[in-house]
Symmetry: C2
Subunit: 346 residues, 2 copies
């Protein structure tokens, strides 16, 4: 990993040894940057390709398969992929890398340790901090029957470049939701049953950085960008050895049914989790108020029984998350009725 | 990296994919473990070799060259090296790995970015926490004219296995000196001019862990082993992006002339650095007292002018350390006379 302001300028040099003869590097860039200076700084060489990733919605398995198949048709083999953007773009890059070498559909690999072969060389360059997608061993995808990542030892990036200057002009709402994703990771990791000293050290540090940014500071400056990028990294490292918890398990249901994006979805859920994380939910509400953010309410109003059941199915499918949050007996604690009542409050 | 109690049992599985036909894995194990249970847990297969490393003294370039040449003569090519021990053993393993593929003597590569080729696959497994050798991009060696590491991007281990259970029965004096190596890394990094948010986050976390162990706790338990192993890792990560400072620069001179080992050498020097790190030296003295440690005094008594000059030469050769500690104008601050006076107080 590389960390530092201006390190984006080193990408050309960093990826050079990984170029294989005439096989191109493929850059997935968040379409937010199309026509912006960052896009013209992408170090394209010979037959390299830049793909502006449509992340209006979080990546679908069908989109991953489409991109991987197009690249196979066009080039056969590629040298690697570089994902430049937020969590969705980075997850897309990781997933396409894996699907360049693994047969079938990405939907076949949604789960834990199902991926069979290492993907092509992959580089992650976040332009938004908080998700931890730059270090995670998953790549969250919405598939035909579930929202679930390709969790595997082959999933993490081979290289990450953390340049806080790239996050400078992120929209402040989006930045808050994504920052809270990190905050929530830390709470879920630190209060989970999977915790060990590795996760604890990283989780505590990331949490402290989030608090410095969102609780202590007044206003946003470069130092906040520096700190949030480290917080995102450390929060991601923390959950690499533990797991997330209730907020993530519940928000996956929202995302699957309603397409609610990950950052805002976690905020919507966490706002109602006093029962599970009382002190942190209180602090969260303070940060929301201090930073003038509005958390959407009533988003499950008018949903049908079938809808609720679908969300409950997706959510209860996240077994490791529930076990981390509530212990081995989680199934007796979070019943379908209890989860339905929680969804109804969102 | 792998972190966790019992993870040593996974080493066989971890290294399996890196075995190349009949080329052996070579295990360097601190000779302290010869005949002990840990040694019989080393996962030897077919023509693998175990070498009990003599770390009475810190590794010399001549010893590295001898080992690498013997391995080349015996096997031609090896699959990799695994270093199991304290900082000296891990540094030895890293250096031998590099010398399996780089021509000439390891003394040719003492310095910054002189190593030309990646070494063979290398794994680090610490049995003593604090040095940060498990993550550093150096491998400290005593050569014919200097004590200086092979600092390069090829130097870090490909894999580290952090199993706090392995540090359980370390001698308490040794454990203190090595733990203080970590503490001193953090102080030197955090108060250095090279600091960025990456180094700061890791340095602060490692420092806090050291304080929990040596200032807050009364007595040693498994939790201390867990924490110190994370502190060592985080302290090493911190200096990966910054540098160490005065204590290290001065103690390298002691090591070169008197063979003073790294951990105790740093303690001897840090004890006298009120001028540079006042608050930390005060806390250090408290930890020394609380943990019933005796710091040797008067070790430079009776040395000749020539001896002092040799130490001063070695120490002032560590330019990046001095620059990190004292800024760009360090040469006008730490004169030969001033450094001599400091050595005379040790």
């Amino acid at each position: 990993m590389i960390y530092g302001r201006g390190s984006f300028n080193q990408v050309d040099e960093i990826i050079a040894p990984h170029r294989k003869s005439m096989n191109p590097m493929v850059f997935f860039v968040d379409y937010f940057f199309e026509g912006k200076p960052l896009a013209s700084g992408v170090p394209l060489r010979s037959n390299d390709k830049i793909i502006f990733a449509d992340v209006t919605h979080e990546p679908k398995t069908t989109y991953v398969d489409l991109l991987a198949n197009q690249l196979k048709d066009e080039f056969g083999i590629i040298s690697g992929v570089v994902g430049i953007g937020g969590g969705a773009t980075m997850d897309l890059a990781k997933a396409v890398s894996l699907m360049m070498t693994n047969p079938g559909s990405s939907a076949d690999y949604q789960g834990w340790d199902l991926v069979k072969f290492p993907g092509v060389y992959k580089v992650g360059i976040p332009t938004l901090s908080g998700t931890g997608a730059e270090v995670s061993r998953t790549t969250v995808l919405t598939g035909p029957t579930r929202k679930l990542g390709m969790n595997s030892d082959f999933t993490p990036f081979d290289q990450i470049v953390l340049d806080p200057a790239l996050t400078k002009n992120a929209p402040s709402n989006q930045r808050f939701y994504t920052g809270m994703d990190c905050y929530i990771h830390c709470i879920e990791s630190l209060q989970g049953t999977y915790l060990n000293e590795f996760s604890k050290s990283y989780g505590e540090k990331a949490l402290q950085l989030c608090q410095e940014i969102y609780v202590d500071k007044n206003g946003w400056d470069d130092d906040c960008d520096d700190k949030l990028m480290m917080a995102s990294y450390a929060g991601g490292m923390s959950i690499a050895y533990s797991q997330v918890g209730v907020a993530h398990a519940v928000s996956y249901g929202l995302a699957f049914l309603l397409g609610t994006k990950h950052g805002i979805g976690n905020c919507i859920v966490f706002d109602k989790l006093e029962e599970y994380y009382p002190a942190a939910v209180k602090e969260f509400k303070y940060m929301v108020e201090k930073n003038n953010i509005e958390i959407p309410q009533g988003i499950c109003r008018g949903l049908s029984d079938e809808d609720f059941n679908k969300m409950i199915d997706v959510s209860l499918g996240m077994k490791p998350l529930w076990e981390n949050a509530l212990g081995k007996d989680w199934e007796s604690i979070i019943t379908r009725e209890k989860l339905r009542a929680l969804y109804e409050r969102l």
